[in-house]
Symmetry: C2
């Protein structure tokens, strides 16, 4: 089986890449440059793909930033929210219809390279925040992926029922070096430790009992403080 894996450079898609390789898949990795504030993640994705000896391509999304204004990930006039993801403010990180756009291009890439499947790392914890991470959205996209060409492309989302902590444990068991993944929405030298993705990363590794090798900024709250604040930022 040949699969295209959506590889962002974050820990979830990195674990997915290792998971598929471990399962015997022949893999092509695909990253997206959709006008993020920084493309640091993509450098991590490229390095990881090289480590795993799989081909890596980047879909350059041209002027998507102008076409889909309003998200803090693409629009510099919107501030990056801090704190845990389940707060309303985090909705500002949503790029309109990002998942459908990425899946559509990945499915086209899979067809062009005679692959059987597209795999992505949506997980159980995504649902509440991102409407396009809900299982029913994925099911309609899976149906479309089976109809869009003469060849049926399978849409794989093996992590859809498990938590980010379970992904962390799985990645750890597969030998993933978490230092070779990048989560922070801000593009600093080190992880900021206080944006939504940093907090999720810290929480997932902690809950999985995996030692966190990530270097966080000197002003990041300590792990103890994060736990005491129920993984929100200290008031």
């Amino acid at each position: 089986m040949k699969a295209v894996v959506l590889l962002s450079g974050g820990m979830d898609s990195a674990a997915l890449l290792l998971y598929l390789l471990d399962d015997g898949y022949e893999v092509r990795a695909l990253g997206f440059n959709y006008g993020q504030r920084h493309s640091k993640e993509l450098g991590f994705a490229k390095a990881l793909a090289e480590d795993c000896k799989v081909p890596f391509s980047v879909a350059e999304m041209g002027n998507l930033r102008e076409l889909l204004p309003g998200s803090s990930q693409t629009d510099e006039s919107v501030a990056v929210p801090e704190g845990k993801y389940d707060e309303d403010s985090m909705k500002a990180t949503v790029v309109p219809n990002r998942n459908m756009i990425m899946l559509a291009i990945a499915i086209g890439h899979a067809i062009a390279h005679d692959c059987d499947a597209v795999a992505y790392a949506a997980h159980a914890g995504d649902h509440a925040i991102y409407p396009d991470c809900r299982p029913e959205f994925a099911e309609s996209m899976a149906r479309a992926a089976g109809l869009c060409d003469w060849k049926k492309i399978q849409l794989m989302r093996p992590f859809i029922t498990i938590s980010k902590a379970s992904i962390a444990a799985l990645g750890n068991n597969l030998g993933l070096d978490f230092q070779k993944t990048w989560s922070c929405y801000k593009g600093g030298d080190v992880h900021c430790g206080r944006c939504g993705t940093c907090i999720e990363r810290r929480e997932a590794l902690h809950l999985a009992g995996v030692p966190d090798p990530t270097i966080y900024a000197v002003d990041a709250p300590s792990l103890k403080t994060m736990i005491e604040n129920d993984w929100h930022l200290p008031k």
Copy 2:
């Protein structure tokens, strides 16, 4: 109601634009530059949108050409096939998963601009050739469009059950100036008159009883010859 219309510069989407405006929609038009051999169509789309006083944007599809190799529309090493569309060779004009990619971006554009719907001009005659023009594909995409965001986006394909000839008749009734649309896959000064889209255009206007104002190349077969050859190229 506000709708994003996929506007290619061809006659079908031009008729769709007029149809929606006539129906009272507030419209935004969206074109795609996905690495076509020529972007002549897009100039026609832009001029038409200006005529109709609707905003027009172009989604620049970056390196899609490299990611989705193998189609004559994006890959210069593949020849443009000539003759009627229902021949196997015309499959070479298919850009893998193009419709899903365009719809995904249009839906994101609709969300970002607070529109209610995305409309595109897939018609009954497309089905046999393009798997992603089949009604069941559109139905799964319509479902995904209703789930991808907090706001439901409606997917409109009002021409899905009618022929290209019926679209020609409808456009004519709405005052469409067919000289202001472009169909030819080759990007010459005038329509070549012998590629798949040119033949479809000539046939549709003829069947609709609409005088064809298109200027075709001097070596294009005559209308009489096309009819006698059952709209294939002369042997």
